[in-house]
Symmetry: C2
Subunit: 986 residues, 2 copies
Amino acid sequence: MLTMQDALARLTTYWTDQGCLVVQPMNTEVGAGTLNPATFLRVLGPEPWRVVYTEPSVRPDDSRYGENPNRLQTHTQLQVILKPDPGNPQELYLGSLAALGIDVTAHDVRFVEDNWASPALGAWGLGWEVWLDGLEITQFTYFQQAGGLNLDPVSVEITYGIERIIMALQDKTHFKEIEYSPGVSYGEVFGQSEYEMSRYYLDDADIEANRRLLEIYAGEAQRMIDAGLPVPAHSYVLKCSQAFNVLDARGAVSTAERAAEFGRMRRLAGEVAKLWVDRRTGLELPLGTVTPLAPARPAAAVQTGGTARTLVFEIGTEELPPAELRSAREQVRRLLTEGLAATRLGHGEVRVFGTPRRLIAVAAAVAAREEDHVRTVKGPKVQAAYAGDGTATKALEGFARGQGVTLSDVETEEVGGVPHVVVRKHEAGRAAPEVLADVLAQVVTGLRAAKNMRWNDPRLAFSRPVRWLTALWGDDVVPVAVSTLAAGRRTRLLRTAVPPETEIASAETFLETLGVNGIVADHEDRRELIVIGAQDLVYPDGRIDVQGEAALIDQITDLVEQPLPLLGTFDEGYLSLPDAVLTTVMRKHQRYLPVRDADGKLLPMFVTVANGPVDVELVRAGNEAVLRARYEDAAFFYRADQATPIAEMKSHLNRLTFTDKLGSMADRADRIAALALSVADRLEAGSPLLRRAAELVKFDLGSQLVTEMTSLAGVMARDYALHAGEDRAVAQAVYEAELPRNTGDDLPRTLPGALLSLADRLDLIAGLAATVGLPTGSSDPFAVRRAFLGLIAVHRATPRLAGFDLTEGLALAAAAQPVPVADTVLEACAEFLTRRLEQVFTEEGQPVDRVRAVLPHAARPAVAAALLGQLRDAVGDPGFRAVAEAVQRARRIVPAGTPAGYDAGLLKEPAEIALHEAVTAVAVPASPDVTAFVAATRPLVEPVGRFFDEVFVMADDPALRAARLGLLAVVRDLGEGLLDWSHLRF
Amino acid sequence: MLTMQDALARLTTYWTDQGCLVVQPMNTEVGAGTLNPATFLRVLGPEPWRVVYTEPSVRPDDSRYGENPNRLQTHTQLQVILKPDPGNPQELYLGSLAALGIDVTAHDVRFVEDNWASPALGAWGLGWEVWLDGLEITQFTYFQQAGGLNLDPVSVEITYGIERIIMALQDKTHFKEIEYSPGVSYGEVFGQSEYEMSRYYLDDADIEANRRLLEIYAGEAQRMIDAGLPVPAHSYVLKCSQAFNVLDARGAVSTAERAAEFGRMRRLAGEVAKLWVDRRTGLELPLGTVTPLAPARPAAAVQTGGTARTLVFEIGTEELPPAELRSAREQVRRLLTEGLAATRLGHGEVRVFGTPRRLIAVAAAVAAREEDHVRTVKGPKVQAAYAGDGTATKALEGFARGQGVTLSDVETEEVGGVPHVVVRKHEAGRAAPEVLADVLAQVVTGLRAAKNMRWNDPRLAFSRPVRWLTALWGDDVVPVAVSTLAAGRRTRLLRTAVPPETEIASAETFLETLGVNGIVADHEDRRELIVIGAQDLVYPDGRIDVQGEAALIDQITDLVEQPLPLLGTFDEGYLSLPDAVLTTVMRKHQRYLPVRDADGKLLPMFVTVANGPVDVELVRAGNEAVLRARYEDAAFFYRADQATPIAEMKSHLNRLTFTDKLGSMADRADRIAALALSVADRLEAGSPLLRRAAELVKFDLGSQLVTEMTSLAGVMARDYALHAGEDRAVAQAVYEAELPRNTGDDLPRTLPGALLSLADRLDLIAGLAATVGLPTGSSDPFAVRRAFLGLIAVHRATPRLAGFDLTEGLALAAAAQPVPVADTVLEACAEFLTRRLEQVFTEEGQPVDRVRAVLPHAARPAVAAALLGQLRDAVGDPGFRAVAEAVQRARRIVPAGTPAGYDAGLLKEPAEIALHEAVTAVAVPASPDVTAFVAATRPLVEPVGRFFDEVFVMADDPALRAARLGLLAVVRDLGEGLLDWSHLRF
């Protein structure tokens, strides 16, 4: 059996054989190998560097007393840095797995998008987590920035999680069982330390002492920066980080502190990085500098045919994230279409395909040559071209000379209505390969992702590295060259193919060649293979909810080149875990499709989709083990939580900070409870049930499972509350307090739930608006926008709340904040609410005019929505339209400020007297109700029409005029408070 | 070329192949691999443990900015722990060198005594430093204690100094040049860090911050101990240690602090160790327990001959320290001689030999059997044995039965004058092998060293492990078995022999067999080989000072089994270094013999003595490289010192603490200067020269070279003072201030030197006597005893000081101490001085009576010595003897307290009147001078004799008696103040 120490030795040997030097772990506690100066400092600057080392990585927060089978406060990383990117780091990495004895052709090895960022280090990079049969075994990152500095050259970081790899290889279910060295288990060697260090980090570390350590370390770091010594400075930054992590694990870090400490560490790390670069430059770069790759030479331009042929262009990439792949397909289509359109090359349909490793454009019937073309070159105006005597001026002579023609070749043509001399040039169309080379090059350089990275190519940037180009027009290579890449007729197949590359005979056979080699280029084809395959696998016992899982299936489809659905099972015992726990793990963590029976009940199985021809049994077993481990984790937390009294869980909220200025989560929960009860009082909706639910609200944030999987907040609250014997309705209300968790999510069905949900959101908005400000643009770290949308949705969905004014609610919430909330802030909130409601209605397809008409009721979205519904009917009613037009007309005529009153005695025209009588008889309903309003005002329709037809309002007699205006003002005000009539259009 | 990272990998692989597991370096700074819990904690308790790991070891004090070629603030250790001792750890170790590609048969690999102790860890062990051609490459230790706990089983610790090994293997002269990995040098990888961390440790670390760190760490360590968590507690002890080392490197630790911190760390480490043992016991010893070795079964007892044969007994050991080897030879001789004497086995001469690896006893002509023997067993008294009727009593019957005889076998014999019944038993002598087995076993178990250790044997203890026994009587194996060892006829040869063991045919051929295999058993033979060989090597250019280097040669002789003197040379340039520097390095560090020319000037060569048949050129080159490195070091310091103004060096004394209560070395130097000047004033011996020398005294303690080689204190002062342009006499005085450095050392030749030397010692004695107390037994950490001896020697050697009373000097010194010095302390010092002087004179062979007679002058040793010299002559003078006897007789007769006066008129006898007149005429010299005294008192000889012959002192007449006693009292007091007459014997 490969022992853990053997594995470390083999990997180290493998990478030293690849030219890495070996250094030792950092001699101060670090959370990851990345922090070791052999990474953090060495990736900076222009010097080359290849290194491999083991790094026991300390994560106080992961302390579990050694009890959790998969989580350790110190786990072992093996870290590799390749600087510069060698161009084939993935292949080298796969070689290292082989060195461990892993048969990468039998296993399902996958590169799954994972972008890495360390705000505290001012560092980020793009890359993947590598999955071995669903198990994350490695982090693979192209470093883009460290210490806030752009990295050039880019380094490749490969971080192996050794315990996980070994547990998989040794088929162990608890880290303690790992065979560390022959006959000695991991638990025997490290078990005691796991327990004791967990005790220190979770229970016994002195908070005050660690705070002081943090300050001293930061002080020394700064002093060393000031002294120009990045090496000791860096070591003190690391010590800061560890002290901070200890405090964090002890629950002693408020959000304010966290932000402040991250800021300080980022600043220190940034200064260290700058200093390091300066110092290395001062030392004249002892390790030399990396030579950038030279531009590629394009293939020779050869054209062997004269008829239209297919064009195929493949951009070979490292594994693209699914979202980027979708976007890139669109970009390729657009860039190629536009590019071709700018040429005179005839072509047929353009189709674009893509897999994680390739973007493929196929254009049918691309002509062999551009059409020939006459190009008109504009010269001087005729007036300036010829002298009075008709002889050529100097200007004309110069033009002809410049164009290389004689005067006799010059013609005349009107340009913009003015006669100019022109030269017409007959240009022959260029050959297709030549034309296409330019177009295709621009497709590559034009590609952009939401987040772009750089690699060993000095000029390109994209979501992931572009590693090869294949471009054929018919039988001929299109001589595309982009930076260091030159297209050819070779393409790469599945990584596990033997050989891994093949030659393509012609553009027409390209897709077929890929297909023969197992690669399904078309997303839709792959999706179908997955859906049908999955359904077949579970038939007849189970069902896949193809509709419900559509987004997941889409994602899976773009994670593979050759989908191979596999059915796995798990122990039925895990079905005792809540459904949401099981499916969250399957979907979010593993991208497995859940399987349900006819009643929608989960079955103890799942479908995973492997990539390519793997050893099915091996991969199935691997994935099952991963799921088992994850479920074991979850079950571990679940059991622990169930054994914890609710009150104790709730007490943990004291250790969770909401924000620095707004106190702990416990404070927030208290505010939510009080606000919900207060609102209930106003609505006479109080109940013991609500009071109990309010006491419990958010308690599950103090549970281990929710700490692990925050998306389960509320779900677990309900579960644990029921387990603790709480009333079913109480449990439901505590659950509903978290609803809706996102757009389209379920809404509270009960009044207590709705009240708590509202209170939650009102508190969040009031507090954050006063301290952080309302969201602007895309920046909304606390999801305040979502809270507003939640307010609207809950209000609309809960009839009993219809009368409740959300701005009042905000004022109540504001009064309970630990900070003052200015009136202007509340006004801004009201305005923000109005804008969100407008957006919601608009996105629901409501006409903008009506939406705006009901916005005065934005504080009561249910009311606004009801009015909107009534409006939809009313606008078809001529009576309503008449009244509405009358109101609008009155508004236009009556000067602002005119009171709604008049001396009826002054009226004399029958029409105005009739209106007066009608108006006087109208009883406008007290509550906003368009239907009632229409009914009530129906008697006005005729008199109003007549009034406008017959009466001249602006009478010369001022008194009469005033009376008429007063009468109209009454009409104007009829709909006051019901709608903003000015917006209504008919 | 074997790169450094290859070397680490190879050693790691080698030791994992030996069953070691691999762990990572400690993730907090440690000064040595020993501190890693994989050593410090794992050597505790009964669990087995084998581990290998790399440990970058941080020693802030060794910071040199990366400039010194051989010294780094972080050097790389490779650490191996074998628990229990596998029985062959040296052989395994040599295997590891072979794994590195070192041909151990060609190189001179040696195990040179080195005992390890870490007071701060409460840990110690015995072992060696391993030399490769004179280069220390490894520490090899049998751990005996850690955290104050005795270790059982004992662990073997092997610590490789990787940089040194690699520099030797790669033939590099600066660590930066090491090829760390292919094409990358050590300097390129670690150079900047060496510089920057040196800056931190030496210049830039914030002292206050590190003090606070130390306190916080100690607090957390204690808290974790209280919480029962040894693992985090240990890690905080390590952090304490590092913080302390940083403070120390910054020169911020006073002696008081040092003692206090060491005490605290020792206490913490002790508590951690106890806790660990408890916790492991609580965890039921996850790694199991070590099974102690079973006792050996002795060889079958076979005796093939009946005539006397030679006995040879070899106790095979691992390399014994030379001093222990000498002592062990004597013990073997005594134990064997006594053991044989207690048997009835006839034997001839007993000779004992020894090499580092074996103790050999040879007894000639050991009889084949003990002589037969009659043993008398005592029974009851005859009176009790027989009844009145002569019949046997029950008592007699019981005795006979008990002895297994009939009543007729009982005889009668007087025992202690009382008749008893006895039984005489004829016992046949046992065969020699049987007898010898017991005797030899007791030789082994009886061996004791000054410092004993334990190894894998559960019952034996000695200076180093005993690994085999060879015991032959003639052709036969003596069936000795001691604990786990059974003697046989096999012996081990040189480690490099092939095969490494051989069989011995008979005791008579044993020494010859060893000799044939190159092993020179006899110390005297080896010594001769060395002396003659060395002299041959240097002839005719140089000379070895065989007389002067006798102690070194003795030591070398006991470091080898087969001496092979080699001549090495060094660069003549180093001859510019002071002679003492060169020879200190050669003798103390390398055990090389210096070579001088006919004028005594050092030649650029040395003789080293290898062990066994090595590759001479290789070993020579290796030793030359070592010496070059050491001289390079010294030259580095020497140059740095020469570039430092004397005043600056002296200012460093402020950073050196003498003791916590007695201030800094600067304080002490000031006191010495003041005291020397004050004494000079009293002696009217002041001079500008003395004043300047007093200003400078001890300044070289602030130099780098003396910091490295403290034995050069004074020597370097003279050198640097001359270099700085000081007066030659001033330089000499500053040098002489340090004399004598040990017994037999040179003494000050100049008065200023002598004054400073006295002042130095007076200050030391007064201060320490008052604070630490005078030395008792063998404990004398500050060498106070030596200071007293120095006082005596200097006083005796300096005529101008003869009149100076050392107790007065001590009183002066006492008055200048920063602490009060009680009178009782000064009295104790005077008494201590007297006892030392008595000892000195006695050891010089002076008769005790005369020594005691002059001790009243102990405060002026020169005077006492002079008197002693005079006494030697005087005691042969009948006149002196007569006077002395008279004085003594007078003392005996005259009652104590009788005043020396009388009424001369009462005297009447002629003899007493004659004595009166003679006494009255005597003028005793004022100063103590025996010769003058003898001359002055010569006229008394006759009258005194006559007086005693003729006068009856105790007359009946009280007045007359009083007069006569008064006259005798005058005689008695004649020598008062000259000698303590009571002690004189003739």
